[in-house]
């Protein structure tokens, strides 16, 4: 099998949002005993990055992002257990605890960020919407997370982002987790003012920002 051609097939399946094909190719990779980490890094990861580029260019929209992220999730569902079986460590970009803050039921943006982080190699623990602030901290400690991501759509609820950072300081946990904030009314200035480590205004830049915070360059 021409590996390069195989990777191109993978890319095509994810970019076009063809879940069956993305899964079939993942199965084929395991059956043919390919280097699965290489398959992920040269096939699937560039594919989802390309999807992000298409979104930034205004060619792709939310439905395409969700569909491609689902392709990634399904394919990883095949590849990662195989890697685990063979005792090969899977590369994780880091562990993320994410949710929409207390008092805020809006979850479209948060869900998209969670899917894109997951599709780009982060382990994601999604706490949902209207999440109590201490729950973020509790879960981050339990999961030994690297990153806490806080979403807020309202000018009233974004104050919860500030409060969470204050709570981390009170508990002497500030600095133990990187904190990233987002949501329609949130901006870089706000993130800096409240002492957050990162900010992103969409799901694609959220992946870039999270990687930067994890010290990953690409």
């Amino acid at each position: 099998m021409d590996k390069q051609q195989f990777f191109e097939q993978i890319k095509k399946s994810v970019i076009e949002g063809n879940k069956e094909e993305a899964v079939a190719l993942a199965k084929k990779a395991t059956e043919e005993k390919l280097d699965l980490n290489e398959v992920i890094e040269k096939g699937y990861v560039p594919a989802i990055q390309e999807v992000g580029d298409l979104w930034e260019k205004g060619e792709y929209f939310l439905p395409e992002l969700i569909t491609s992220a689902e392709c990634m999730k399904a394919a990883m569902g095949i590849l990662q257990p195989e890697l685990a079986k063979a005792n090969i460590p899977t590369k994780s970009c880091g562990k993320v605890v994410i949710g929409t803050v207390e008092g805020d039921i809006h979850d479209i943006g948060k869900n998209l960020v969670a899917s894109m982080l997951g599709a780009n190699g982060f382990e994601v623990v999604d706490l949902g919407a209207d999440v109590k602030l201490d729950q973020f901290i509790k879960k981050a400690q339990e999961e030994n997370a690297d990153l806490i991501c806080l979403s807020a759509l309202l000018t009233t609820t974004m104050l919860g982002q500030k409060k969470l950072i204050e709570m981390l300081k009170e508990k002497n946990l500030y600095g133990q987790f990187k904190v990233m904030v987002g949501g329609a009314p949130v901006n870089r200035q706000w993130a800096e003012n409240i002492g957050a480590d990162g900010y992103a205004d969409n799901a694609i830049t959220a992946v870039e920002e999270a990687k930067k915070l994890m010290g990953i360059t690409s």
């Binding site: 439905p63 039921i105 979850d107 104050l159």
Partner: protein, 293 residues
């Protein structure tokens, strides 16, 4: 008073109201609560806000029911109060309404997605909107405004759901983002696709609101006018909100800058103009001065 909203649209530019959420917060609305619950808990406050908009010059105010569809209310565990909260919203606005003015029943999005991107079927969306429309209609609104829709398919569900329960006029506005290739909804619906579909459906008045400030909205109105002859609604945000560390909210577009685009909005083809997030009765007063003096 027998003139309909259609008569007024033919006669002159119609002025809607501005933001409701920001006004509720100014009156002490607590974080995380359900805005529609104030229709029964603090009706006097909601009425006061409507009155302030009528006094500022609004021809039409929108009911406090933006999040009043059954699916959105479910997030606040108030789905069983859907009819009651919407009917109350309509009654309050009508109490504030002077003779010759209008009340529109606001119907915002569910915040959820249809399958395959979400878990809901079109029938479930239709039903959620139908119950809201029934409450608003029974409460006596003059017409319905399905607004701030980001998914054309959801907007059509709302339109169908509302039609099942009322003969009132139903208008629809979509919210668009500005992209390098033009204006698109969150789901990627183009301006042309939305307008073409609405015309086929026989929706009498269409338009756009939210997301964009008045400078961007002027450009969007121009594009919409090139693609339809239907009366057009335009309600811009006062830019993006920002919050100080102390929690004070301000909007990026100052009132002088915001209203400076109103004449261009009319020139580009808007027939029904109002404010959206970040605008208040002061903005409406200034817009009334520009439009009617």
């Amino acid at each position: 008073m027998s003139a309909s909203i259609f008569d007024l649209i033919k006669e002159r530019i119609v002025l809607l109201d501005g933001g409701m959420g920001t006004e509720l917060i100014r009156h002490g609305f607590p974080q995380g609560a359900c805005p529609e619950s104030w229709n029964v808990e603090k009706p006097e406050t909601v009425k006061k806000i409507h009155t302030s908009y009528f006094e500022a010059g609004s021809d039409v105010v929108l009911t406090n029911s933006f999040g009043g569809n059954k699916i959105k209310l479910l997030s606040h565990n108030l789905a069983d109060k859907c009819y009651e909260l919407n009917r109350a919203a309509a009654i309050i606005a009508n109490e504030a309404k002077p003779a010759g003015k209008f009340v529109a029943g606001s119907m915002g999005p569910t915040g959820k997605f249809l399958k395959p991107h979400g878990e809901f079927t079109p029938e479930e969306f239709e039903e959620a909107y139908a119950e809201q429309a029934k409450g608003l209609s029974d409460g006596g609104v003059d017409f319905l405004l399905i607004e701030t829709q980001y998914d054309l398919q959801e907007a059509l569900c709302a339109w169908r759901g509302a039609q099942q329960v009322t003969d009132l006029p139903i208008f629809v506005t979509m919210t668009f983002n500005r992209h390098p290739r033009g204006f698109f909804t969150l789901m990627g619906n183009s301006v042309e696709q939305c307008l073409k579909t609405f015309e086929q459906e026989g929706i009498p008045v269409v338009g756009t609101n939210c997301t964009l400030n008045s400078a961007d909205m002027v450009d969007l109105v121009k594009i919409m006018r090139e693609k339809t002859e239907l009366p057009l609604i335009a309600q811009a945000n006062a830019g993006k909100p920002s919050v100080s560390e102390e929690g004070e909210v301000s909007y990026a577009q100052e009132i002088d800058d915001y209203v400076s685009y109103i004449p261009q909005m009319v020139e580009n083809g808007a027939n029904i103009i109002g404010g959206c997030c970040g605008t208040n009765p002061d903005y409406i007063k200034r817009m009334a001065d520009i439009l009617f003096k």
